[in-house]
């Protein structure tokens, strides 16, 4: 292209407009991938009545384990629970001085993964009705919050992203108008000599694609740099939560998508910019 500086500028405009929303998308994508790892938290803690002994607890464990809406049950005997509690709190001497173990036998019930909200609530009810069960503790509220937050996040990104992509298209159209204006003489001459609309369009469509593709490449470079820069602290953060890092960078598919989107936007902008000129030439 004849004007490298303005080419670079339009590349940057397209790159920024594509990179920002796709960075958000990548973030949400990664958050969504972390979330299922946290379903451990969705499990139910079922406290049995203190009069129920270990044998009774084992029976309940077997019964509940056979339910279709339950994927896994594990029993934590009250002695084990007391030991763990003592270990974690450092109150072992205090606890040892107690006459009776105040903790009940506890079942950790993990619902089947495809269970929806209503079914999960029904499961809680069903567990609570068992005669041996004292209390069912359910910690699903934060899961629901995370899900809503993710949904809100997606919509937010979609709205911001659409606005930014629209901005990129408008900038591309303006630039294409300038490019076309600079070659107006050529278009007129070619049109008088009988150049078809396709013949006149072709070089400008290539220019549009060149602008868009360059923007797409720069955008994926930006996203890639950003995620590489972010990877180390995020990995460290997740390690603090005892989670293996599922963080995923943009990858080949993401970059290919950005390139394809850039190409499409450039092509579209060139077509829109050309329409006005071709109409005025009656072809």
């Amino acid at each position: 292209m004849a004007r490298p500086f303005s080419t670079l500028l339009i590349w940057l405009v397209v790159a920024i407009s594509l990179a920002l929303p796709s960075t958000f998308l990548l973030t949400l994508d990664n958050l969504g991938r972390v979330a299922p790892d946290l379903t451990r938290g969705a499990q139910l803690s079922v406290m049995l009545r203190s009069k129920a002994d270990l044998a009774a607890a084992r029976l309940v464990e077997q019964r509940v384990g056979a339910w279709p809406e339950v994927s896994q049950v594990s029993l934590i005997p009250r002695e084990q629970a007391l030991m763990e509690f003592a270990e974690q709190t450092g109150l072992s001497s205090v606890l040892m001085s107690l006459e009776n173990n105040p903790l009940p036998h506890t079942l950790l019930v993990e619902p089947a993964p495809d269970l929806n909200k209503t079914a999960a609530t029904a499961l809680v009810g069903r567990l609570a009705q068992l005669s041996e069960v004292e209390r069912v503790i359910q910690d699903t509220r934060w899961m629901a919050r995370l899900q809503e937050a993710l949904l809100a996040g997606w919509r937010w990104v979609t709205a911001i992203g659409s606005a930014m992509v629209l901005g990129a298209v408008l900038a591309l159209i303006t630039t294409m108008h300038l490019v076309i204006d600079a070659r107006r003489e050529e278009i007129e001459v070619v049109s008088v000599m009988g150049g078809s609309a396709a013949f006149i369009r072709r070089p400008f469509l290539y220019t549009g694609v060149y602008f868009g593709a360059g923007g797409g490449v720069l955008a994926s470079l930006c996203v890639w740099l950003f995620s590489a820069w972010l990877a180390q602290p995020v990995d460290a953060l997740l390690a603090l939560y005892d989670m293996a890092s599922p963080l995923r960078g943009p990858g080949a598919f993401y970059s290919a998508c950005l390139l394809a989107i850039g190409v499409c936007l450039g092509w579209l902008a060139a077509l829109i910019a050309l329409r006005r000129y071709l109409r005025s030439l009656e072809i």
Binding site: E188, G194, G195
Partner: protein
């Protein structure tokens, strides 16, 4: 054959052409003259379908141009070679590439295109400047490159709008003899010009426009 049949073109209250009827025969060479604003440019624009008449009909080889739709206009225009007063060459490419433009849009293969471009440049005597940039050429040379570009695809009609407007008399007469040479090999030539002293020496029909109507015609 080009026929204008009671053709009018109005721009608001202004009649650029008023019931104009004229005929240019196949293989003829004719001059179109008249004062500025007499309707010469409007006539050429209508003929090339750069504009459409307000009334009347223009027929080329017996076929009405009114029936030519937008999609077929480019193909129709390729039957004409056009020479402009200001040559309208593109300065971002060589003489060769300028002349090759009509062949590129008609889809010629590079080898055939090269051969035809060289033949056309040879006819106007500029083969040596094939690789030059138009910016380095004189006014007369530029106009000859423009003519080479107009004839390279072997059009049926050669249309020229004030082709000698910017040239001195010697160069003008040189350009006119080029047009005559193409006419002699069967191309129908229509030249719009102010240059009465020049064309009165040549033996071709002169059509004079005045206020959008045909004021007179002298056969050469």
């Amino acid at each position: 054959m080009i026929e204008f049949d009671r053709v009018s073109r109005r721009f608001g209250d202004i009649h650029a052409l008023r019931y104009l009827s004229l005929t240019i025969d196949q293989g003829e060479m004719a001059f179109l003259t008249g004062h500025s604003g007499a309707g010469k440019s409007t006539l050429l624009r209508l003929l090339l379908l750069l504009d459409r008449p307000s009334g009347g009909d223009i027929r080329v080889c017996g076929e009405s141009t009114a029936k030519i739709g937008t999609g077929s206009v480019p193909q129709y225009r390729r039957r004409f070679g056009v020479v402009f007063q200001d040559h309208r060459l593109l300065f971002d490419r060589s003489v060769h590439d300028n002349v090759a433009l009509p062949l590129a849009m008609a889809g010629y293969a590079p080898r055939e295109s090269q051969r035809r471009v060289r033949a056309a440049l040879d006819k106007v005597g500029l083969l040596a400047l094939e690789r030059a940039n138009p910016a380095s050429l004189s006014g007369g040379e530029l106009q000859r490159v423009g003519i080479a570009r107009a004839v390279v695809a072997k059009p049926e009609f050669l249309i020229a709008d004030e082709p000698t407007g910017n040239l001195d008399p010697a160069l003008s007469s040189e350009i006119m003899s080029l047009f005559e040479a193409f006419n002699q090999v069967g191309v129908t030539v229509l030249v719009a010009t102010h240059d009465l002293p020049l064309i009165s020496r040549l033996r071709h029909r002169i059509l004079t426009l005045s206020a959008g109507s045909l004021a007179g015609q002298e056969s050469g």
